[in-house]
Symmetry: C2
Subunit: 205 residues, 2 copies
DNA sequence: TCATATCTTGAACTCCCAGTACAAACTATG
DNA sequence: CATAGTTTGTACTGGGAGTTCAAGATATGA
C-alpha cells in the first residue's frame, strides 16, 4: 500500500456508507470508486484491491482512537478520571464514524488478519488502560485487580460492542452527547459494579 | 435455506477452521465443501451459497449460546450467582467452538445483516440478562442500575470480546477451565467494580 | 527552460470462480 | 411398486476483480 495522500484518504470515507450497507463482497470496485469520487484506476494505483481500502480505513480509525485515548489517558488528573475520559474518547470517535464502524465489523476479516488486529489492539489500548489501572492503584483511586490485562480487555469489549450497537442502530443528531451518556453508563458499571455486598477479600470463588 | 439435517450440520463445523483461517472471500466453495466432507452440489442443494453456510453456523451458535445462557439464568439460586453462571456459560460455548467464532467475526456481514443480528441478540441475551438484573434487585443480591439495557449490553460486550480474543489467540487444552478463569475475572469486574470509594449516591457526575 | 520522475486516468482485456442447470442414481415411505 | 424427495457428478456461463498499457498531467530540481 502506497503512502495515501490526505485528500484521497478523506474521500475514501465517502465509500464507508456503501460498504457498510451492502458489504464488501457485494459492493463492486467501480461502485466504491464512484462513492469515493475517485477513478477506479486511481484506486488501484494506491491499493491492491478493495480489501486494502478497508484495511486503510481500519488503520486510520485505530490511529484516531489510539490518539484520543492516549491523550485522555496521559492528561492530568486522577487515574480514575482519566479512565473515564478514555472511555468517552473511544466512544466519541466511534460515534463520529458510524459507517466506518459498521463497514469494519461487517468485513473485519478482509481488513486485517485477526491475530494482527489483536496484537495492534493490545498495543494501542490494553496497554494504556492497563497502565492506567496501575496508576490508579498508586494514586488510590482504583483498586488492585488480579489480572489487569483481562480487565482492560473487558473494558475495551464493553466500549466497543456498545459503540458498535449505537453505530448500527443509527443515531441521534448529537453524537458527542450520546458518547457522554453511554460512557457514563459504562463507567458506572466498571467503577461501582453491580454487587450489593462488598467484595469478599478472600476472593470471589 | 432448507431444513438442514443434523448430520450435515455437524459436518459444516468441519469447514469452520478453513473459513476462519482464510476468510470467506478467499475460501472457494469447492474447498469449503471438501473441508466439510460433502459434495458441492449437495451444499448448493441446501444453501444458496457460502454466505448461507456461515449464516447457518451463526444461527446454530446463537441457538446454542441462548440455550445455555437461558438455562443458567433460570436455574435456582440468587440472581447474582445465576449471572455468574450465565457469563461462564456463554464463554464455555465460545471456547468450545473457537474456529466458528473466528470465522464469524471475520465475515460477520456475510452471515447476517447487522441490524438483524442486533435484534436477535437483544432477544437472546440482553433481555435475559436484563431480567436477571431486575431479579437481583428484588432478591437483594444486585444493586439497581439506571439503564439495565445498557448494562446488559456492556456485559455482553465484555464477554464476547474477551471470548473472541481467547478464540483468536488459540487455546490451551482445557477450554472449560479457561472459560471458568475468564468468567471469574469478568464477574469480579462487573460485580465489584474498580472504584476504591463507594458509589456516590447522587450519581457519578 | 528542459528533463525526469511520479501521479492520474481511461479503456480494453483476461481469467477465475460463484452459482446454475440438469440428469442419473439413490432412498424413503406409504 | 410408485411417487416424492434427496444426493451427487459434470458441464456450463456470466460477472466482476484485478491487470495492462499508454497518454496526459503535475511536480521536482538542475
Amino acid at each position: 500500500m502506497r503512502q495515501v495522500p490526505a485528500k484521497l484518504a478523506s474521500k475514501l470515507y465517502g465509500a464507508a456508507e456503501l460498504i457498510a450497507e451492502r458489504g464488501l463482497a457485494d459492493a463492486k470496485v467501480d461502485e466504491i470508486a464512484d462513492a469515493a469520487g475517485i477513478p477506479k484506476a486511481t484506486l488501484y494505483y494506491y491499493f491492491t484491491g478493495k480489501d486494502e481500502v478497508l484495511a486503510f480505513l481500519l488503520a486510520d480509525m485505530l490511529g484516531l482512537i489510539a490518539g484520543e485515548v492516549g491523550t485522555a489517558a496521559s492528561a492530568p488528573g486522577s487515574a480514575r478520571d482519566r479512565l473515564e475520559s478514555a472511555v468517552e474518547a473511544q466512544l466519541a470517535v466511534m460515534l463520529d464514524h458510524p459507517a466506518v464502524c459498521r463497514a469494519l465489523v461487517g468485513d473485519l476479516g478482509r481488513a486485517t488478519r485477526l491475530p494482527e488486529l489483536a496484537a495492534a489492539l493490545q498495543e494501542a489500548f490494553h496497554r494504556p488502560i492497563a497502565s492506567l489501572l496501575a496508576e490508579g492503584v498508586s494514586d488510590g483511586t482504583l483498586r488492585l485487580v488480579e489480572d489487569p490485562g483481562a480487565v482492560a480487555l473487558s473494558i475495551f469489549g464493553a466500549i466497543t460492542v456498545t459503540g458498535l450497537s449505537a453505530a448500527v442502530d443509527g443515531s441521534s443528531n448529537d453524537s458527542a452527547k450520546d458518547a457522554a451518556r453511554i460512557a457514563a453508563s459504562i463507567c458506572d458499571l466498571m467503577l461501582n459494579g453491580l454487587a450489593t455486598t462488598p467484595a469478599n477479600p478472600e476472593g470471589d470463588r
